[in-house]
Symmetry: C2
Subunit: 519 residues, 2 copies
């Protein structure tokens, strides 16, 4: 895997194995001995054991490893096939060639597809340190990837993971760029499309910072962790599924990049495009609708940015053989009433039974309708009506029950039998007014404080939405929790967070004495 | 030190201490428990123990730490004042504000002095992870710092370390941007300037990738590790010193940045300027001559880059109250004959005794002369002669003996009594020719393979220099080592490295049959 630096010496050490998960190949060397051998912290060494060679990043210790000992962390121990006491050879490693390519991009030059492939390959093989990956992400953020580079990155991402190879057509898919609480359209769109006889092998993500991801919400109704062959089985039988993408390993490199993106809070556009489109490509999607919510408190705050992103999705998608259409939707406020896994399930089941929040219903029908038109199932303009017919007929609900059962859940579940938390706290309007804003980010925080997504039954139940008139004493929302202590914690968080803003006609009074007083 | 994220819970763990030096505050949390608490790898947590709070980066393990245990690494354990078994409180931490400032710079906006101060302060307090520091370095490389930003960075760097506060004037200093093997002008310039009655409190660095740094070479003659008060003492008495900057702690933040610069091989100009000028500022330097070697195999390859760098040094220096002049010198070939600590000492001692390599002598006199003119000691044009007079008179040699003695060395040492290795290998010219190039990088590699700088007596002794005519059978250079095995290793490295290029008048023959044959 690595190339020893020819001008450097080798030395031998006995292995100590440490069960520490670092996400990189890290070895611990004795500090004094390392200095003797001209090896410094964060340097790269090649560890050889028999025919196996693994490039590792150096960490130093004085006590954990003694002279002639090497501490090998679990991941590297497995790769090397070593057990405690085995002898390994250590030699200086050259920098991986990716470091040169990252530098090239820093200097403003465009990378070739081959260079991008090499970077992704070396990242997947754990040959790049966190420091190098951080540098890569920063570079890709500042020096935006071109369309060519993004296409190459997407192909590289696809090549690192499994592929579904369904051999059926047409294959449809949807995606939402996220940030809107309660936005569970996937769980309405998938059964509609599948009920229309088209294929929609949907993989979804779990929450990172939100109250729930689609995979978390679906998990209340059924299992979501399946291997690629099981997923195929379900899709062949039911035309659709809603499973957790993380279990399928569609884009291995993604985990590595997310690890860096998360602490840096960086989402370079090229990486975002490649990560999303790579997963679509891996399931063989041919027609994809992407929902880009825009607005205050949403991930993307202005329409111009959303338009530019949409254009890139469409361009890169077309280069990858996918027909993509993008919705730019209003993302200022949550969708539906429940925020949190089981509460969101209640909204979804109600919509599938032709009840429930109209915003979730309408948005789902728009997306499903667009997909039906995009793949040519119905003429332009007839998609929404066909989707609405399928929903109204109960066929979508039947299909959802089939999928739930295929994924090991109970198809007889109803909104009433969902495991929703019993500890409740009502938040009351302290004045009259009109709801001007329901903050996605704060609602998510409160729902998380109450235990979501881990506690499936916890979250927030909204009693009002943007534009509603409320009277002092009305319930604005309820905090719902499985555990009393978490409920208390969430209630306490309200001291610093006000997720619902009420607009007042008179904001304040500027008095004759020169003082301004808030109403 | 940190701010807990208000919406997050706290939990308690018992401490296990691990003696691992990571250069960051890292804690090990039990993997399953961390997931329960919504904490992921690379997240930031605040550890509280009594009144002390330390922000740490999370690593995960299943076996090293059990449920309700936390692994604290040595550095953080000291800060927290915890011992094994102590209970600490863990809570989610907000991102340090520096992350926002780094992002601001990524987006192409200029940072204020206060923002730069905060970044450096948080870096010194170990509140920034390697990932964040890597992102910072990459950003400063791509989005070059303005002069204002560089001045602010230099001031921030100075504020993080100790300061000499000599209260004497004028204070002179020199610096070389490096890359040239054997370039030990400091050890000739310092005694000349000190003998002229001026102050030159010189701190030097150790080798990172070269065969020797000035601190390594001086260490053959005397101690180089002194605290700031000891350094002051020596300078008050002898007007000069040559000590290792790393022991003085003039710019604490530098170590952190070098740790990142090394693996990324990045040297953002603003960081380079701040690191060098920060150290000059910390010793109170008023007049500084900077040598910028340029040429093939040198750090800076073309004169235009060197000119731009010189201009920046002068501008930033003037904003910091320092008068700076820069030499752009020929850095294509090594200076002096010996490469490696003791071998370089031999050159220096010979020059101080009016013998030895003329290139080392002349360059040192030029730098010393420029310093004498810059501080107004002599009129423009008279510096070189004054420096040469001091050298010729033996006063510089006497001064050097005084400094060696003050730094705990033996002032009676001679080139003959230096501890030079006894294992030798001669490299012979295999053809006639003229020396066209002596490669700094390869000579350094061979000297390091032979044991330098750790083995003081090892290195390379050049028998020829650029422009020399050599005859087949002449000695080109000797490899010198303290240990036979390292000599063998260095000799073996010659199989892939040819550090001395001989030019031939006829390069090859293009024969009538269409074949080209090399001579």
């Amino acid at each position: 895997m690595g190339v020893c630096d020819m001008a450097e010496r080798e030395y031998r050490c006995k292995v100590k194995v440490f069960d520490v998960t670092t996400g990189q190949n890290i070895v611990l060397l004795n500090k004094e001995q390392a200095v003797e051998e001209d090896i410094y912290i964060s340097d790269r060494v090649i560890i050889k054991h028999g025919d196996v060679e693994v490039t590792c990043i150096v960490d130093l210790s004085n006590v954990l490893v003694k002279n002639d000992e090497i501490g090998v962390f679990q991941e590297s121990a497995e790769k090397l096939g070593v057990k405690p006491g085995d002898e390994v050879i250590i030699c200086h490693a050259q920098h991986p060639v990716s470091v040169d390519y990252i530098k090239k991009k820093m200097d403003g030059k465009e990378l070739t597809a081959e260079e991008i492939n090499t970077i992704i390959k070396e990242a997947v093989e754990n040959r790049l340190s966190d420091v190098e990956l951080a540098s890569l992400m920063t570079t890709m953020y500042i020096r935006e990837l071109s369309i060519d580079e993004t296409v190459a990155l997407t192909n590289a991402v696809v090549a690192t993971g499994s592929q579904l190879n369904l051999n059926r057509h047409p294959i449809l898919d949807k995606h939402c760029s996220g940030g809107v609480a309660g936005n569970r359209t996937t769980m309405v769109v998938v059964p509609i499309i599948a009920a229309a006889g088209l294929y929609i092998p949907k993989t979804s993500s779990r929450s990172i910072t939100s109250a729930s991801g689609t995979a978390d919400t679906m998990e209340v109704l059924a299992n979501v962790q399946f291997g690629i062959d099981e997923m195929k089985e379900i899709v062949y039988k039911h035309h659709g599924c809603i499973v957790w993408g993380g279990a399928i390993n569609l884009a291995t490199v993604d985990d590595k990049l997310i690890k860096i993106r998360h602490p840096l809070r960086l989402d370079p556009k090229g990486v975002l495009l490649a990560s999303i489109l790579g997963k679509k490509k891996s399931v063989g999607a041919e027609y994809v609708v992407i929902d880009i919510p825009v607005g205050r408190g949403s991930k993307i705050e202005n329409v111009e940015d959303a338009k530019a992103l949409a254009k890139d999705f469409i361009n890169v998608g077309s280069r990858l053989g996918m027909h993509i259409e993008c919705f730019i939707s209003d993302g200022s406020d949550p969708i539906g009433e429940g925020i949190g896994p089981a509460l969101e399930c209640a909204d979804v089941l109600k919509v599938l039974q032709n009840d429930g929040p109209t915003d979730l219903r309408d948005k789902s029908l728009q997306i499903a309708g667009e997909l039906l038109e995009l793949c040519g199932k119905v003429p332009k303009g007839a998609g929404f009506d066909m989707a609405a017919d399928i929903l109204r007929s109960g066929k979508a609900f039947e299909k959802m029950k089939g999928i739930i059962e295929a994924q090991g859940g109970d198809p007889k579940i109803t909104p009433e039998t969902l495991p929703i938390g019993t500890k409740r706290h009502e938040v009351i309007a302290d004045k009259d007014g009109r709801v001007q804003h329901v903050d996605n980010r704060l609602i998510n925080k409160i729902a998380r404080a109450a235990g979501a997504p881990k506690d499936h039954g916890s979250g927030v139940l909204l009693h009002c939405e943007h534009g509603d008139k409320v009277t002092k004493g009305d319930i604005l929302f309820e905090i719902i929790a499985e555990h009393e202590s978490k409920l208390e914690f969430a209630v306490k968080s309200l001291e610093t967070m006000n997720p619902i803003e009420l607009e007042r006609v008179i904001i304040g009074k500027f008095a004759g004495n020169g003082y301004f007083s808030k109403y």
